[in-house]
């Protein structure tokens, strides 16, 4: 039975054939332009904005990884911070204890986050909708509790600090301690990760996910093991969330339990809804709005959450498909 209402389906992005042909070039061209501007940012923008955009990129990747299971597969996870935090702790610990080059720490973080996602996903993906959301929330809280209580390993609520960024690895001579350099590393890594994620959404596997989000039962009757696909999507999403967390720890100079808190799990949900789950770039757009709003509003008032709440309520009432989603829908007249 069609249970289309619970999660916005990502499949509208599929209708390339229905678009006016001019758009086919417009999208890649504007993306190249955007990347060029972002790469050049440190040469004209003050450090403050470099920090802001670094955060947007990392949170955008976090939200985009979440949207693979939310928008594309139709599963609402409330525990996505577990993988973000896992990545952050893995990188922080490796940098602190093993002094690995950053690139190896990033890869290791993806591996540990994917492993955690495999365990949590194995136990959760069999459940549907509300029960899946509740179980992922519960597992997220458990991971938070472990990070908080296991002081000997995680240093409790203080988290892991004092690690240094040395070299990047791969023979690249990068001064990672310079925020402008670290920003460009983040930009490159996020761009590559986003490209891989995008490729996955356009693959046959991605088509299965979109079909599952709309009608898992019919997919099963086509001979496809729905649970295994849900699990695979969950693990891939966890892996990229882990990468986002791994980029975040050096940026923030700490890996702390806050990054695993359930409120951290809410952020990709909010960002995705803000930007729009129906388009691949929606979560990045939402992350930008979220971080910019947070930065600007908190400089005027302490009641950031109140304003965020108002903004979200308005969005859900008037922009059901998110801001980017609604804008693109208008432009493409779909």
């Amino acid at each position: 039975m069609n249970r289309n209402a619970s999660a916005p389906s990502a499949s509208v992005a599929a209708g390339a054939a229905a678009r006016p042909s001019g758009w086919r070039l417009a999208v890649p061209l504007s993306l190249v332009l955007l990347l060029a501007v972002l790469a050049a940012l440190p040469s004209f923008a003050p450090y403050f904005y470099i920090f802001v955009v670094t955060e947007i990129l990392i949170m955008g990747l976090f939200a985009a990884s979440f949207n693979l299971i939310f928008g594309y597969t139709g599963m609402l996870s409330f525990g996505h911070a577990a993988f973000f935090g896992m990545g952050a702790y893995t990188t922080a610990m490796l940098l602190l204890h093993v002094e690995l080059p950053l690139v190896w720490a990033l890869l290791a973080s993806m591996a540990t986050a994917a492993l955690l996602a495999l365990v949590i996903g194995f136990l959760s993906v069999r459940l549907s909708e509300v029960y899946f959301a509740m179980l992922t929330l519960a597992f997220g809280m458990m991971v938070y509790a472990v990070a908080h209580q296991w002081r000997s390993l995680t240093n409790g609520s203080d988290g892991i600090t004092g690690f240094l960024l040395r070299d990047f690895g791969l023979g690249l001579d990068l001064q990672l301690a310079d925020p402008a350099v670290y920003y460009r590393v983040v930009l490159a890594v996020v761009a590559i990760a986003a490209a891989v994620l995008y490729l996955i959404t356009r693959s046959s596997f991605g088509l299965m996910l979109r079909a599952i989000s709309e009608n898992p039962e019919r997919v099963a009757f086509c001979g496809i093991d729905v649970r295994r696909h849900r699990l695979a999507a969950f693990v891939i999403a966890g892996l990229f969330a882990g990468l986002a967390g791994a980029l975040f720890a050096p940026f923030n100079r700490v890996a702390s339990p806050d990054m695993l808190h359930w409120s951290q799990s809410a952020e990709p949900v909010l960002m995705t809804i803000l930007g729009g789950a129906g388009y691949f770039l929606g979560p990045f757009f939402g992350a930008a709005m979220f971080v910019l709003l947070e930065t600007w509003i908190t400089s005027y008032t302490e009641h950031w959450m109140l304003f965020l709440g108002i903004a979200l309520a308005l969005l859900v009432m008037f922009f059901r498909r998110g801001v980017l989603g609604t804008l693109l829908d208008r432009m493409l007249r779909r």
């Binding site: 599929a14 490729l199 693959s203 046959s204 039962e217 099963a220």
Partner: protein, 253 residues
């Protein structure tokens, strides 16, 4: 003697106190077209649900090509070669007609875990999808979102998805329900054409008696969860119990 392709013994399903299907045994031979008829609530859809893995039987066994498939999950049964359509349109409304067919083809060709290859570049799969659509006359609508197709076209797409899995046994649950007379004739001709290829075995439920008598080699009548009668169309037409239970109602309605 050839072996039956489908062999059902003592199949039963109870919902609370209601015995929707009550000890049904049935054999279907390869390449046969069997019509399963019966008044509303007779248990036909429930019978399909148990064969296709949507519901676990309360009792009895289902064998397909000699293999016990009772209680297997739907995807496993589908992969063995049993495919079904649904009484209520059950297509992917957000996908295009071609993508609907691709979902079934992807599983068939083991591409369901192909992560990095764009689905739109898989020429063999696309060509095969178009061929299936062509067969149903849906080729001009390949790029149309299934949600905006007409009711009859959705019904055809439903059959296209079923055929794309390359089934040996096809269960069609009221394929012409809600269709215009012309669409009904189109579907009837189509099913007859498919049956004549000798590649398929059909089990079809239908309320439209013209379709039933037109297509069926054999008719099986269900009533209140039990098999009431079975035989050739001529035998069923003249069966008194059947007329009372079913055809009579139909004529007086």
């Amino acid at each position: 003697m050839t072996e039956p392709i489908l062999s059902v013994t003592g199949l039963g399903k109870a919902f609370g106190g209601v015995r929707a299907v009550d000890g049904v045994s049935l054999e279907v031979m390869p390449r046969e077209t069997v019509a399963l008829i019966g008044p509303n609530g007779a248990g036909k859809t429930t019978f399909y649900n148990m064969i296709s893995g949507r519901m676990k039987p309360s009792s009895g066994r289902v064998r397909f090509q000699g293999r016990d498939i009772t209680g297997l999950p739907p995807h496993a049964i589908s992969r063995l070669g049993v495919s079904r359509s649904f009484q209520i349109n059950n297509v992917f409304t957000e996908l295009t007609a071609r993508e609907n067919v691709e979902v079934a083809l992807t599983a068939l060709h083991g591409r369901a875990f192909s992560l990095f290859r764009p689905a739109s570049r898989d020429r063999r799969l696309l060509a095969e999808a178009d061929a299936v659509l062509e067969r149903l006359g849906l080729r001009p609508l390949a790029d149309t979102r299934a949600g905006v197709l007409s009711y009859g076209d959705k019904r055809l797409l439903e059959i296209a998805i079923v055929l794309a899995t390359r089934p040996k046994l096809v269960l069609l649950d009221e394929p012409t329900a809600g269709m215009t007379p012309e669409e009904t004739r189109h579907v009837t001709r189509l099913i007859r054409g498919l049956a004549e290829t000798g590649e398929y075995t059909f089990l079809i439920t239908e309320h439209d008696m013209n379709v039933v008598f037109d297509l069926a080699d054999r008719i099986v009548v269900m009533h209140r969860g039990r098999l009431l009668a079975q035989g050739t169309p001529e035998q069923i037409r003249s069966d008194r119990a059947v007329r009372e239970a079913y055809l009579g109602e139909e004529e007086s309605a």
